[in-house]
Subunit: 459 residues, 2 copies
Amino acid sequence: MKEPTAVEMLREHLEAGNAEAARAIFASAHPAAVAEALSGLGTEEMWAALRHAPLPVRAEIFSHIDHGTQVALAESITRGELAAVLAEMPPDDRVDMLKRMPEEKREAILPALAQAEREDIRRLSSYPEGTAGAVMTSDYAVLTPGLTAQEAIGRLRLEAPDKETIYYSYVVDSDRRLQGLVSLRDLILARPEARVEDIMHKDVISVRAEDDQEEAAGKIQKYGLIALPVVSSDGALVGIVTYDDALDVMAQEQTEDMEKIMAIGGAHEAKAYLRTPAWSHFKNRVVWLVVLALIGFVSGFIVQSYESILLQFAILASFMPMLADTGGNAGSQSATLVIRALALKEVSVRDALRVLFKELQVSFAMGLVLAGIAFGRALLFSRGTTLPDGYLPAQVGIAVAIALWAQVVTSTVLGALMPLGVSRLKLDPAVVASPALTTLVDITGLLIFFATAKAMLAL
Amino acid sequence: MKEPTAVEMLREHLEAGNAEAARAIFASAHPAAVAEALSGLGTEEMWAALRHAPLPVRAEIFSHIDHGTQVALAESITRGELAAVLAEMPPDDRVDMLKRMPEEKREAILPALAQAEREDIRRLSSYPEGTAGAVMTSDYAVLTPGLTAQEAIGRLRLEAPDKETIYYSYVVDSDRRLQGLVSLRDLILARPEARVEDIMHKDVISVRAEDDQEEAAGKIQKYGLIALPVVSSDGALVGIVTYDDALDVMAQEQTEDMEKIMAIGGAHEAKAYLRTPAWSHFKNRVVWLVVLALIGFVSGFIVQSYESILLQFAILASFMPMLADTGGNAGSQSATLVIRALALKEVSVRDALRVLFKELQVSFAMGLVLAGIAFGRALLFSRGTTLPDGYLPAQVGIAVAIALWAQVVTSTVLGALMPLGVSRLKLDPAVVASPALTTLVDITGLLIFFATAKAMLAL
């Protein structure tokens, strides 16, 4: 039993115009699977197919369609049809979609919705992107402290169809301030006449609406929660973030972190590589390439200023690429480890000395191995070149080995400490992008290299 | 209401020897929060604290302690105490911990467990690391098709304390083959006398035990599931993977992908940066550094073979670092985008031509911008160097600009196509590590550079 094969049948039924059979599949298959099955269709065929589904199912499938198609679909159907779907969609998905619609279309559809829905949309869309408030939903179950377990279950039974989850209910006072959490499991296990206030958990883990969405996802992961309540600054319950939102947030943040580390700019939309126009890709990528190329000029000036050494010891030029790459690689490794350790909260700025000590040990050892290899290369492959009178290949080898060792140590330590420094400044450590680091250690590496060569070869 | 402050009080109560107050907190605070609060203590103090908690709570807290401390704790308590905790721990956490214990300790503790638990441990630990089988748990709720909704709820009420979740129950036949899924919400909404077989969902989304854990996490995310059933090759239900496991899998895979992209080898354990000995860090990191340095020799040989050009046009050497870095950066950008798009399943190998077309457009444009900058630099800063008679800085500038443009295009395209090629070979695209790519495009870049210089400067 793998992916529901029923979904493959759905397309066949639709093609054959077999509405009855299609309806049966709409009733049984997972809305996400149906949305995927429909994803190849044009907006008109897609809507023709969706009309076979009863409205609540249609809205559920709609909320699983990717944002680009949602907007296209929304613009191709009537205002009444769209309003009916919007009224049934989960509030967080509804707001996500409306935010992506052109403003005049959005303004045009709002009057077709009921007052309560308009108010809900206004409230949910008031939180800035990236906050817990922007990913929360307003369809959560609420109980009052005085209900019995049996009454609470009865209440949930009535509300279940409209709620994102009924597995966690939140207990609030008359000011909507969060008093406790009771799970459906607690209610089922309790004596029917037990009061909610006696079985609820009072130490409720929550986030503020203005907290970062990563903070919310992190708590959901750490405590294994199905939903996390979101409270306003005065402690009132305003929404919940569910575990499936946390999974989406994690996937999105992961992409953004990786892109930041690779020096790709711009805001990120999930699943958008092929749909993003080449022009946006260009804009997101060219800025850093140019900035880094300009910084790279410094390397060029260093090489230019040591031209006379290169003219005497042309073999030194052949070590420049390896020196630069090895420094960049060693620095990227340590930077990645520290950025990741910071993200997982396993190290903090206070651990800087421990990190420094560890990276010094590691880089001393790695530097020795690489220095040995560079020395061997200098001895073995220097026959083709001519050295000035009185110089031996071993002397060049020693100079290169010392420079490479120093380059590995400084690059590794820089790679480890820069994310900590950036984090100290309350910035995202991932801005210590690997390309930026590579460009930086090129500069330090060339300075080390030529200074060492000058000193060792007594120039 | 932020992180439970009760946890801060726990440490105070423990220090003051106030066992009664500590017990109250053990009863109300989240086990993960308690585990965190205890994490600074030595194993003896930690165990002294845990003994105040009733056994089921103690086992829950124990399963939230990090693996290193778990093993240290397990070795410092008596066999009887450990066996009691193990018997109460969630089966998946129990196996995770036992796998990390030294073999002789593990063999010593097993006989102290009941037959059923030993059997469960043996079965769960038989799946290779990284599979769905290795992250699943065996504490899931099962129902038979003929039960009524009311009977099913009664059954779940009895079983709830021992199950990882009672929100999804799986319906199996007499051979334990998976027939359907029924949620607690379905049961609560159904008429009490409705039969499970009539309300269950028959199109159950599942994974095989030998499938990759990422596959399981991906389905949980895509379909927003609380739990995903795991079946054996003959279709029998063998376990479930829960949404919180999916969150952990995603975090772990994210770290591994990033480390792979940065060419860091070795198996990864979560939250281990500071605990991993410097020696292991050295081993995981030095191998790739050495391999890449050896490949980097090729760059050296290329430079060596064009020594005569460098002796005439020393200014060319000053463009080498920028050429190499820009190629590496452009290639890493496109590789990161494609690796991520493959991981999120938004592109597949079949899209290679679309990817190629997009990257060609982007790289042509980026190459033009960078070529312009390089040309400008050649004109502006070539005064310090001497060119052979009859050559103008503009000629050098044109050669450098053409070479840089070609380097940006080839690096970007290589960066985008290599992950697709690797994926075609059924390997993980993330092995197209950024350092490996950087080293490779160094080689292509130098070849392009010197060939262009030779042709343009008619050498």
